[in-house]
C-alpha cells in the first residue's frame, strides 16, 4: 500500500517537473550545429571518445543580418541578473544614462558600446514611456538595430520612495564630510552620486 503511494507521488512529481521544463526550455539548443570548427577539430585530436562540449553560441538564437533599409523599430533586450526585463521587444527609442551623458538610441544608430552610470533609462513606445532607474552596466547597439542593455539592478521609477531618497542623500553627504580614510570617502561618494542621480531622476 505504501509503495503504491510512493509511486503515485513520484509520477505526480515528474509530471509537474515536465510541465515546468516545457514552460522554460525554449532557450536550450534547438539546432545541433557544431559551433567553432577549429575547436571541434582540436578536441577530436585530444579526446576522440568524448563529445566536444557545447559553447554558448550554440544556445543562442541567431540574430538577423544588417538590413539594407532602415528599420522603423528598435529591438531591445534589457536584462538583469535575475530577470529579462525586456526581451526582443520592438520600441521606438530608448534613452540610456551613459557615462558621457544621456544617450538616445533610435533605429539605425551607429554600432556603439556604452558604459552606463546610475541614472534613468526610459523606453519609448508610441506615447507610452516606461522609466527605470538602473544602477550601472553596459549598453551595446548593433548595426542591425538591436540594442542590448545590461544592468546589475533596475527598478521602475514609480516604485521609488522620494522621502527615502532624500534621507539617504543627506545621510551620505554627512558621511562624505566626516569620512577619514580613502575607502570611506569613495564609498560615501558613490552613495551621494547614486542618491543625487535618483533625486534628479525623480524630480526631472
Amino acid at each position: 500500500m505504501f509503495r503504491q503511494a510512493a509511486h503515485r507521488l513520484f509520477t505526480r512529481s515528474t509530471t509537474t517537473t515536465i510541465t515546468i521544463r516545457r514552460l522554460y526550455s525554449t532557450e536550450v539548443a534547438t539546432d545541433a550545429s557544431s559551433g567553432d570548427a577549429a575547436f571541434v577539430e582540436a578536441w577530436k585530436k585530444v579526446a576522440p571518445n568524448i563529445d566536444p562540449p557545447k559553447t554558448p553560441i550554440q544556445y543562442m538564437e541567431p540574430r538577423p543580418p544588417t538590413p539594407s533599409t532602415l528599420p522603423s523599430k528598435l529591438t531591445v533586450n534589457f536584462v538583469l541578473p535575475y530577470a529579462a526585463e525586456l526581451s526582443k521587444s520592438e520600441v521606438d527609442m530608448v534613452i540610456v544614462p551613459a557615462t558621457t551623458g544621456q544617450m538616445g538610441i533610435l533605429p539605425g544608430h551607429v554600432p556603439t558600446i556604452a558604459e552606463l552610470k546610475p541614472g534613468l533609462l526610459s523606453v519609448h513606445e508610441g506615447n507610452d514611456v516606461k522609466k527605470y532607474f538602473i544602477s550601472s552596466g553596459f549598453a551595446f547597439v548593433h548595426s542591425n538595430s538591436y540594442a542590448d542593455i545590461l544592468a546589475v539592478e533596475a527598478v521602475p521609477l514609480d516604485r521609488i520612495d522620494p522621502a527615502q531618497v532624500q534621507k539617504g542623500l543627506s545621510e551620505f553627504t554627512q558621511k562624505l564630510n566626516s569620512a577619514s580614510t580613502d575607502l570611506d570617502k569613495a564609498e560615501a561618494q558613490i552613495g551621494v552620486d547614486v542618491h543625487s542621480a535618483l533625486n534628479s531622476a525623480l524630480t526631472g
Binding site: Y24, P53, M60, V79, A84, T99, P111, I113, A114, F140
Partner: protein
C-alpha cells in the same frame, strides 16, 4: 491478520536472538543458517533476512527523502537559472564565441559541486577540463586550473596538483546571488593572470540531461588584438566606444563585467544540473531498494513457510508414531 502472524513468528524466534553467537548471526548471510540452530530448535533462522530488510528499508527512506529535498531545491533554482540566461547573450552577440583562440596564458575555471551523490556531473566537468588542458598546454603556452567546488578539487588534485592556481569551495552555503558571484569573480581576476578564461560547467537542460559547456572570456588585451588584426572578433572595430578615458579602459571594464555575468549564469546552471542529477540518482536508488526489498520479502516468507511445514510434519509424524 498478517501482522499477528508475524508477531507470533517473532516470538517464536525470540530465543534465537540471544543465541550463543549473535554477532555471527547478524554478519552471516543466509547460507550458514544451520550453525545457529543450537539448543534443539530445528528451524531456519529468519533473523538475518529481517535485519537486512530493515536496513534496506531505512536506506530507501533516506534516498526518498534526499530525492524530495533535491526536487524542491531544483524547482527554486531552476527558475533562477532560466532567468539568468539572458545575461550572457549580449556578450556573445558582441564579442562572438572563441573557444579556439590561441593565447599564451590559459586558465580553466572548472565548476563542480560541493556534495556528492549527484550522478556524473562532476566527473563530466573534470573530464572536459582535462581535455581542454591538453588542447591548450603546449611548449610556449601554459594552462592553469581554477576550481570551484569540493568534488572537482578531489578529482583534479590527484594528477594535476601543480597546475592548480586557486581553489574555492562552499559556494552554495549561502544563497547564490549576483553580488556573491561577482565577489568571487573579482577574487579570480585579482589572483590569477590570464589571457583567456575557459569556464567549464554543466548547462541544465532537463532533470535527466545536462550539457557540458565551455564559455570563453578573453582578457582586454586579447580582445583588442583579436579585433585589430582581422582576428576572430573582427567587427568589434566598427563599434564606437562611449565613456571612459581610453578604449582599453572600457574594454577592461567590459571584460570584467562579462566574466562576472558568465560566471553567474554558469554557477546557477551547474547548481541546477546538480540538483536535477541528484534527484534522478536518488530516484533510481530508491527504486533499486524497493526491488531488493521485494526479493528479500519473498525469501523471508519462503523460509518461514518452510519452517512451519517442517514443524507440522514433525508433529504429525510424532503423533502417528504414537498411534501406530
Amino acid at each position: 491478520m498478517a501482522m499477528a502472524a508475524l508477531r507470533r513468528e517473532g516470538r517464536r524466534f525470540a530465543p534465537l536472538v540471544s543465541s550463543p553467537n549473535p554477532i555471527n548471526a547478524i554478519r552471516s548471510t543466509l547460507a550458514p543458517a544451520e550453525e545457529q540452530m543450537g539448543l534443539g530448535v530445528r528451524s531456519i533462522s529468519t533473523q538475518v533476512v529481517r535485519n537486512r530488510m530493515k536496513s534496506v528499508r531505512n536506506i530507501q527512506k533516506i534516498t526518498k527523502a534526499m530525492k524530495m529535498v533535491a526536487a524542491s531545491k531544483l524547482r527554486a533554482i531552476q527558475v533562477r537559472a532560466e532567468n539568468s540566461r539572458g545575461l550572457w547573450q549580449p556578450f556573445t552577440a558582441l564579442l562572438g564565441d572563441t573557444p579556439s583562440v590561441n593565447v599564451k596564458k590559459n586558465v580553466i575555471v572548472t565548476i563542480s559541486s560541493d556534495k556528492g551523490l549527484c550522478g556524473g556531473i562532476n566527473s563530466t566537468s573534470v573530464k572536459i577540463s582535462r581535455a581542454l588542458h591538453k588542447i591548450n598546454s603546449g611548449p610556449d603556452t601554459e594552462c592553469k586550473y581554477v576550481i570551484l567546488g569540493e568534488k572537482g578539487k578531489a578529482q583534479l588534485i590527484r594528477d594535476s596538483k601543480k597546475d592548480i592556481e586557486l581553489i574555492m569551495t562552499e559556494l552554495q552555503k549561502n544563497f547564490l546571488n549576483y553580488t556573491q558571484v561577482s565577489v568571487l569573480a573579482d577574487d579570480i581576476l585579482k589572483n590569477v593572470e590570464f589571457d583567456a578564461l575557459r569556464i567549464v560547467f554543466n548547462k541544465f537542460q532537463s532533470v535527466v540531461s545536462f550539457l557540458p559547456t565551455t564559455a570563453t572570456v578573453l582578457s582586454p588585451e586579447i580582445v583588442e588584438r583579436e579585433s585589430e588584426a582581422g582576428g576572430k572578433i573582427g567587427d568589434l572595430d566598427s563599434y564606437e566606444i562611449e565613456g571612459g578615458e581610453t578604449k582599453s579602459e572600457v574594454l577592461q571594464n567590459l571584460a570584467e563585467f562579462q566574466f562576472s555575468c558568465v560566471m553567474f549564469n554558469a554557477v546557477l546552471e551547474n547548481a541546477c544540473s546538480e540538483q536535477g542529477a541528484r534527484m534522478s540518482a536518488m530516484d533510481s536508488s530508491s527504486r533499486n531498494a524497493g526491488d531488493m526489498l521485494d526479493r528479500l520479502t519473498l525469501t523471508y516468507n519462503r523460509t518461514r513457510q518452510a519452517s512451519i511445514t517442517t514443524e507440522l510434519i514433525e508433529i504429525i509424524s510424532g503423533a502417528s508414531a504414537l498411534e501406530g
